[in-house]
């Protein structure tokens, strides 16, 4: 299995309501940018332990790590060149890694239909049409992410099988690879569009509200409280 796929397994995190996980993701993502390096490190370690706890197939996901490693290198190098601050650079690097980990946890434990329905139901209180439209946009975007990574994986394996070495003629190879990846992705998008149309997909359809239980509220309040306390003290 490639990265950013939902796994329907039984873990405490999988059983939490989507809204709890979405709010916690937002809280972590917003606080992690402007905080101390100790806070960022604590969050990074906690998220890593959570990844292990829910048995995320990290070895499989590591194959896709090259994209994030590339982005991470660009972010870290440019931050260091502009600030000449090694601690700040480490913190930015950890924050980026934490963001990836929190996204992996959210998508691994929550079906994107449920993420979309939850956000759609909440936004529909303000404007039903806009809420459900946004839910559809989120649903389709989240659907495309695993398709994109699956295409990348197929393409990489096919090229490797034919003896291509990416470290030779790097620029030419990367350009060819990226062009092929986009071409495949566009074909898949076209197929997806036809498939949705064939199943009478209505972007404005009403979404089912996913119930929040006492357990979810408890986890949400305790986790948010702990994160904020850590943020203020560290």
């Amino acid at each position: 299995m490639n990265i950013f796929h939902y796994r329907d397994i039984d873990t405490p995190l999988h059983n939490l309501a989507p809204i709890t996980k979405i709010i916690l993701t937002l809280v972590i993502s917003s606080l992690i940018i402007k905080s101390s390096i100790i806070f960022t490190s604590s969050i990074a370690v906690t998220l890593f332990l959570l990844l292990i706890l829910i048995k995320v197939p990290l070895r499989n996901y590591a194959k896709e790590g090259i994209y994030f490693f590339f982005l991470l290198s660009v972010i870290s190098i440019s931050h260091y060149i502009s600030s000449e601050n090694i601690v700040g650079t480490i913190q930015i690097t950890l924050a980026f890694i934490s963001m990836i980990m929190v996204s992996v946890i959210l998508i691994d434990t929550t079906a994107f239909n449920d993420i979309a329905s939850t956000i759609g139901s909440f936004l529909s209180i303000i404007s039903p049409k806009l809420g459900y439209r946004i839910a559809t946009t989120i649903e389709l975007t989240l659907h495309m992410i695993p398709l994109f990574f699956d295409s990348a994986s197929e393409l990489r394996t096919a090229r490797k099988a034919r003896g291509q070495k990416m470290n030779r003629h790097v620029i030419r190879n990367v350009v060819e690879y990226v062009s092929a990846l986009f071409a495949i992705t566009f074909i898949k998008v076209e197929h997806l569009e036809l498939a949705l149309k064939a199943r009478l997909f209505d972007p404005d359809r009403e979404r089912e509200f996913i119930r929040v239980r006492k357990k979810d509220l408890f986890v949400l309040l305790v986790a948010t409280f702990l994160i904020i306390i850590l943020y203020l003290t560290l």
Partner: protein
Amino acid sequence: MHIVKNNMLSVENLNISLGGNKEIVKEVSFSIAKGNTLLLCGKNGSGKSVLLRGLKGLIPIDGGSIFLDGIDLSRKPKIRNKDIALVFQDTDTQIVGQTVYKDLMFGLNNIGIKKDESESRIEEVASLLSISSLLHKNPMNLSGGEKRRVALGGVLVMKPRIIFLDEPFANLDYPGIIQVIDSIVTLQKEGATIIIATHEIEKIAYHCDSLLILDKGEVVAFGKTKETLTQAENNGIHIPTINNKPIGFEELTWRKM
């Protein structure tokens, strides 16, 4: 060619050009009776998939008539889209739910079926296609044959009047092909009207009532399968051979499946 207008689906002089100058489907006419199965075959690029998509209303048609139970729906693509189900060749993009259950629910939500009714339809279809044990699995982890049955289930729950299967055997291994043939035979027993587009005709021809051969977008043969099969080899369709002779209808390799 025998076109009977009051058949379940009758198509007359259908043309599709996809907006270009070259017609992909040219003057295609055929009909299929309720509860029958039509095998649509032709080489790659003969226009099979375009014809199915045009009939369903996913792409515009340039001319011709499409009658469903005697009613001309050629100018009503939305009604055709609702009444006709299409299972695509690429199941990975057709399956949109992150569990099989969610995927079956997807179409039902789109047509506004209430939860109780949806659950009863899912249970019925899952039992029919033997996918009940897969309901809570991630479709991406299923085998090719299982994915194809899930995709078929996804359209069956919507209770279509006619079912199109586009290359149902593509990229499947032996067990996968058997699973798909079993599902088709099950649907036939339930009285479904089916059109199967494939070039692998030896796998399913025995179970089809009529055969339509398409070449460069034109109908080159249409009639009862047994009688029309002999014309397939002359039109670039591979028929398995015994002692260098194409096998006959009764000897079709996969007929006992």
